[in-house]
């Protein structure tokens, strides 16, 4: 194992690639846009209104973005709870993607908040906490989890810093802290499993407070359950996609058999989602909504279909080895899309404040900011994997053909 493709190494190579330049340019423009946003307020630059007070930045950057960043959670679940120790070659990149994704979500929140200057009070002024507020739990959990993710990443950075002889302070710091961190790691990893379980489900409870403004098909006590189950599928799907991406872009041959073999677990996850979803609608007497042929019933069936299709693909012909990666890729893409649609619908399409409010569609400004944030995330990811030992696997050029 030690000398095989299980050992993470920096990718190396030039940093300033054309893609990197593009990402930095987008992120740079976004920074300027954000300065403008804080000078003029939210109204002039976004399409949000008093009727649709939450837009793309909440629905995508926060609610969907953090779920897409559940790779670290999904892999940690598989390793520790499902006792699949051998999946660790994937964990570093999964946790890095999660750390970046959650950081992006946190930045997205700050941009979206009208009065972000009071946010620092939130984790400190515990005597003001409103324990009825689902959002309070989500906010505190996400803050804590983002910190946990970066601390989980710290040994990886320190591993590299320890070798930097020309920076003695950094070296000494790393030498001192690495053993302490390694001791604390099991407790952190456990936090890294419990916290997402809490806030990913609570993201579902959170929108239930929209009450009568949320379409009955989504106003269900099972929504937190659906959010939790689907974030596992999304996280797993993202790990698959990311593994295949680094394989194509960085020619890193990374074993996908481990993921392939796991697809059966995903079949269970996906079918549970579909089963409970249908059962709940029927048991709560809402089946009439299913055949209205309005946008809600169509969205519902689209959701069910997107969760069901990858399950069927993986069930009819289970993926076992690296050879099956084409099918795994397709199924993973569907799982990710399914989870995204479910979140967009609950936070956006199925939210109706009253018919006199126009439907919300994000402004170019909002879309650009989101794109810029993603670009910044990609840039950070590319930089870190080139400089630090994240990715496992050998360059595929070295593979025997």
């Amino acid at each position: 194992m030690k000398n095989g493709h299980g050992v993470p190494r920096p990718v190396g190579g030039p940093i300033m690639t054309p893609v990197m330049k593009l990402c930095l340019a987008l992120a740079g423009i976004t920074t300027l846009l954000l300065i403008y946003r804080f000078l003029v307020g939210l109204g002039p630059v976004t399409n949000m209104t008093d009727g649709h007070p939450w837009g793309l930045w909440i629905a995508f950057d926060v609610v969907t973005g953090t779920a897409l960043a559940c790779g670290g959670y999904a892999v940690a679940l598989l390793i520790y709870v499902f006792n699949k120790g051998k999946y660790h070659p994937l964990i570093r990149s999964a946790i890095l993607t999660s750390a970046l994704g959650y950081t992006l979500g946190a930045i997205g929140v700050i941009i979206d908040l009208g009065r972000p200057w009071w946010t620092w009070k939130l984790p400190i002024f515990f005597w003001t906490w409103n324990l009825d507020s689902v959002q309070l739990e989500v906010a505190l959990c996400i803050m804590l989890y983002t910190a946990v993710l970066w601390i989980e990443m710290a040994p990886v950075f320190m591993e590299r810093w320890e070798q930097e002889d020309d920076k003695p302070r950094l070296q000494e710091f790393s030498r001192k802290w690495t053993p302490i961190l390694m001791k604390a790691m099991p407790w952190l990893i456990a936090l890294g499993i419990v916290l997402p379980t809490m806030h990913q489900s609570s993201l579902g409870s959170m929108i239930l407070l929209a009450g009568p403004k949320l379409h009955p098909l989504w106003l269900t006590p099972w929504l937190p359950f659906f959010f939790l189950v689907s974030c596992i599928a999304m996280g797993y799907g993202m790990v698959v996609l990311e593994t295949m991406w680094s394989r194509t872009v960085y020619s890193r041959y990374r074993e996908t058999s481990v993921l392939s073999a796991l697809s059966r677990a995903m079949v269970v996850v996906l079918l549970t989602w579909v089963g409970v979803r249908l059962f709940d609608v029927i048991a709560s007497g809402k089946s009439a909504y299913l055949f209205n042929l309005d946008r809600f019933s169509i969205l519902f069936w689209l959701e069910v279909l997107l969760f069901l299709a990858p399950a069927i693909i993986l069930m009819l012909k289970p993926t076992r080895t690296d050879r099956d990666r084409g099918r795994l890729f397709m199924a993973s893409g569907m799982m990710v899309t399914a989870g995204m649609l479910h979140r967009f619908t609950a936070y956006w399409f199925a939210y109706n404040p009253g018919d006199h409010w126009n439907l919300y569609f994000p402004s170019m400004f909002e879309i650009f900011v989101t794109v810029g944030l993603i670009a910044a995330e990609v840039a950070a990811f590319m930089y870190i994997i080139k400089k630090f030992p994240i990715l496992t696997g050998r360059p595929s050029a070295a593979l025997p053909t």
Partner: protein, 305 residues
Amino acid sequence: MNISRRGALKVAAFGAATAAGARKAEAREKKTAPPDATGMLYDATLCIGCKACVAACRDANDLELEKSSTLYDDPVDLSANTCNIIKLYDGGGDGEAQVSFVKQQCMHCIDPACAAACMMGSFQKRQNGIVTWKPERCIGCRYCQVACPFNIPKFEWDSPIPAMVKCQMCLAKAGTTEEGQLNEVGQPACTEVCPREAVIYGPYEELKAEALRRIAENPDRYEDHVYGLEEVGGTQVLYLTSKGVPFSKLGLPELGPEPVPALPVGLQHTIYKGFIAPIAVYGIVAGLVWRTRRKSDAAGEEVGA
């Protein structure tokens, strides 16, 4: 499949707690108005649409005029500059036409969704059960707007230092006297100026009795329904409407007796009761992590970051 089913089941237990929450959510205690609750009663049959209350509300709360097209103050809806509005419902048609005015402002719910949403209690039921906003606790997340079933809180979209604006029964502006009354005359601005007493202010219980008395005395004049007695668990602002003009025509949504926070808050408190489930799951997961790492240490593997 070589999956540790027991471990899986344990974490699934958390999911199951979510599901159990689903059933028990109704167990959340029904809230009642505080003993010192005050409120307003608006009687659409008395209102002549003079909008004196709209102007008075502006004055009392230092709100800017809203000129949409003309020289006059003519707001079309509640906004960050309009906490109180009079709207006209015109049933149209000849003969049977029904015309009615309606006043809109915060309903001061008995179990307010906006307050359930607010993380640091910026929106809270305070003195007299009036829901008020504290600027130093608001981070501008707008969850209150998502939550309010009447779309009442309004955000200052065009300001870099936005406030959440809504009717606070003139409390914030007027302050209170020692007796706990609102201001010198003991009235919010809108009820004080109303020439027809179409909107009145008073102790909640008295207003309830008054509304029911009016219907009982004049069953031909009123719809047999006091809006706000049952809706979303009760509101401290009550409405009466003319016979033949149902409340839904006046822009007051048809809402059940269930308070909006009942489902999510009930769910949340069931799952997180005493914080036992998260701590138990944490303990179990920490054990599983420890076991996995010990095993892989023995095998000379490095697991984790």
